[in-house]
Subunit: 328 residues, 2 copies
């Protein structure tokens, strides 16, 4: 059942019994921020609540209050009365085969969302699940939003808006940020914690990945590739390539940026970024993935050449479609 | 004479005759934003106003309204009744030998500021000259702040706060941003205009500069070097190294980042960034430069080895001072 903000607030206020909170695999800032924000908020509301992820939290989120209370597990072993799933709409994308809960609620902002839960609120026009969560929390109790809630919420807004730069940033996003700063968030502390704790290995890796930078489809597409051997050569971790896709994306004239990451032999994780004209969520969906209009991805088995060929064909169709729409 | 915001507003409202607006050499976002913001605002206020820079405006600010009305000249050839100098306090740092104006006003936020003008308002606690200018403009006439004023003002706030991330970002900075978005600023348009129009040459240059990344003073200092030959090898422009200092700065444990740029043989431009503990404005001042606590710089003649040695000695003293202050 689709809910509006007020109905969601009422539903959460009325929740009884044991509540589980979880989010998607490979949790990013908005996933960690929204789930941990709700965890800290619901504890203050007097609820019995547990937070469990399938994957571990990236180290650069270690400044978040109660981040150590997040349990990482391969399966959910006991039954809950409720599960709240944030920042993702399909239960299987949580990474858990099964979530034993009597009732379920999704809070999300992804457009490919097709929730299979009992209740859901999905607002694709909003910057982040964190911003949406903040509005719902305010309807429940503004005074319970202290620094331990504000800090994760701010984190998700910051990372999903690319520091208030992407097109999902609204006037209201800045007003929320101002309110969160009033609650004790120090922007520079968050910034340095997330973005200024790199190892030099990251930049050795960047050096190698930049060498792979190439164009396709008349320079409208720029792509980079991370081969597994680069990780061995530099001693970098896979997650240290976070943000590298911004390099091809930021080149003048490029409409779509692509990052091919070799997960294992002949298995690729492909990330797509659009500058606005092309809907990469649609492209990713056609190839078995999903995401937002401007940021999407999918996984594919095969040689790098075949994976590239298949993607460029799909992108060519997307460019043609965009062209015919623009002249019609 | 030192003025507060209200006095500055009154002074500007009462200005008569021809007004010249200028800013510092190598204008950055806050310099261009504040001077052009005032230019567009004062025209709407019905003033007779000219805007002249010593150096040309970087191409990525070409989206700013009336940017083509900025005149670039080696000297100011006629006399003005007033000159308004934004984002810099010493007239000589405008790059002009002499500014023939009967009266002068400085609007700035730099702590090393020692204004030699008739009137000045310098608020070092504020994010940017643009944010300060916005408050003064509001005192003059809120309704004159249309998109042509809001866009340059937003630009300076964005670039000087590192996209609302640096410690100079306050609750009020976000409230101002919200008001500017209401006036028609589209964050993503500004972002892509400034940050996503790179040439591939920039990343070829980055590849070479990253190879020079080294540590000093027990890894508390990380530094990179741009030799002129790198520009020849990659076909990159000098200004395409903008932002490279964020790479050494963003390494875990690094307190001070340094970027040595070879301007001509044995002549170096040295940029300094602090993560908070060290006041690099003081370090730069001791070496003949200036700036903010967190971002400063200076120029020096000599071999790279001598320039490095001299700087590292100065930084060592700064670290010692910080250490004794922290334990006393």
């Amino acid at each position: 059942m689709k809910l509006n903000r007020k109905e969601t607030a009422e539903l959460i206020k009325a929740m009884e019994g044991d509540i589980l909170i979880t989010t998607h695999k490979n949790p990013d800032g908005d996933a960690v921020g929204s789930s941990l924000g709700w965890y800290n908020f619901l504890k203050k509301l007097g609820k019995s609540v547990k937070i469990v992820y399938r994957d571990r939290i990236p180290y650069f989120f270690d400044y978040l209050p109660n981040v150590n209370e997040v349990e990482v597990a391969e399966e959910i072993r006991r039954e809950f009365d409720w599960v709240i799933i944030t920042d993702v709409s399909e239960p299987k994308r949580t990474g858990f085969e099964e979530i034993p809960a009597k009732r379920s609620l999704v809070i999300d902002h992804h457009i490919t969302a097709e929730p299979f839960t009992n209740y859901f609120i999905v607002e694709p026009d909003i910057s982040s699940t964190c911003e949406l969560s903040y509005y719902i929390m305010k309807l429940i109790s503004e005074e319970l939003i202290d620094r331990s809630v504000a800090l994760p919420i701010y984190t998700g807004i910051l990372t999903d808006t690319g520091s208030f730069n992407y097109s999902n940033t609204s006037l209201d996003t800045h007003l929320v940020a101002a309110e969160l700063l009033k609650k004790g968030v120090e922007p520079y502390t968050v910034y340095t914690s997330i973005f200024e704790r790199n190892r030099i290995n990251r930049y050795k890796l960047l050096e190698l990945v930049l060498k792979t930078l190439k164009f396709a489809l008349d320079q409208r597409v720029a792509h980079i590739t991370l081969f597994r051997k680069f990780l061995e050569e530099t001693g970098a971790y896979p997650e240290e390539s976070e943000g590298f896709i911004n390099y091809p994306r930021s080149i003048d004239g490029v409409e779509v940026a692509v990052f091919f990451k070799e997960i294992e032999e002949n298995f690729w994780k492909v990330s797509l970024r659009s500058k606005g004209k092309i809907n990469v969520a649609e492209v990713a969906k056609n190839l078995g993935g999903g995401g937002h209009r401007m940021a999407a991805g999918y996984e594919k088995r095969g040689s790098i050449d075949k994976v590239k060929e298949e993607l460029f064909k799909e992108l060519e169709l997307a460019f043609e479609k965009e062209y015919y729409e623009s002249i019609s």
